[in-house]
């Protein structure tokens, strides 16, 4: 069966977002913008279920 590499690309994008958001979160903490810190932390938390969904879809449809 022909495999799709779209989920892989999406997951890589999610990981890139994770890195960006994490660095933003740490910087905002040291700049004492605590609201931005919490928002970035929640973004990071949301990205994990998103990644899991992308994985599930990618595995079921294409394998």
């Amino acid at each position: 069966m022909k495999r799709s590499y779209l989920p892989v690309a999406l997951l890589l994008a999610v990981l890139m977002l994770n890195i960006i958001v994490t660095q933003y979160m740490v910087h905002q903490y040291f700049y004492q913008n605590y609201v931005s810190t919490i928002v970035a932390g929640i973004m990071n938390l949301i990205l994990f279920p998103l990644a899991f969904l992308i994985y599930k879809k990618g595995v079921n449809v294409n394998d």
Partner: protein, 174 residues
């Protein structure tokens, strides 16, 4: 030599013939995606403590409460003079300086180099640590000369009814 292992079915006197290690470490597409999801999970978990400490700062648990402490009467300290006191504990020596009619500053007077007491030089207008000739700016507590690299911790003041009170210590910032 006998060819006992070539008989079919052969005698199972060894336990490794069915272990197939080919491609054992190959990372296929599915395994790679699993790794990426796991990495996202690690990021999510690692952001929890940052959120927790940020929330703590927002709620204000990080600010210590100090009891309001009387330092000196306004009448007893002329403009340009300094008075020593202890705040917040009895072993935390501090210095109060009256810069003008209504401007007071106070710092914990342990030099940030090796904790010698810092003295107010009225003529030169700066705070001097005599041990290694470190100097601090009297307006901000920032080091201006000598070995110290960090500012003196500022003490928050309040003037009420012609009396100067110490109400808090500025949080240390590296």
């Amino acid at each position: 030599m006998t060819d006992k292992n070539n008989k079919i079915p052969f005698d199972e006197d060894n336990y490794t013939h069915n272990i197939n290690r080919n491609n054992e470490r190959k990372l296929d597409r599915r395994g790679f995606m699993k790794t990426l999801v796991g990495a996202a999970g690690v990021f999510a978990v690692s952001s929890l403590p940052w959120g927790a400490v940020a929330a703590k700062e927002l709620v204000g648990l990080g600010d210590k409460k100090y009891p309001k402490q009387k330092i000196v009467d306004v009448k007893a300290i002329p403009v340009g003079d300094a008075v020593d006191f202890h705040f917040p504990g009895e072993h935390d020596s501090a210095i109060l300086i009256r810069l003008s009619e209504n401007k007071y500053v106070a710092y914990q007077n342990a030099c940030t180099h090796l904790r010698c007491p810092v003295f107010w030089q009225k003529e030169e207008g700066d705070l001097l640590c005599p041990c290694h000739h470190g100097k601090f700016d009297v307006e901000t507590g920032a080091p201006t000369a000598g070995p110290p690299r960090r500012p003196l911790p500022e003490i928050y003041l309040k003037v009420e009814n012609d009396t100067v009170y110490a109400v808090g210590v500025k949080r240390y910032e590296a």
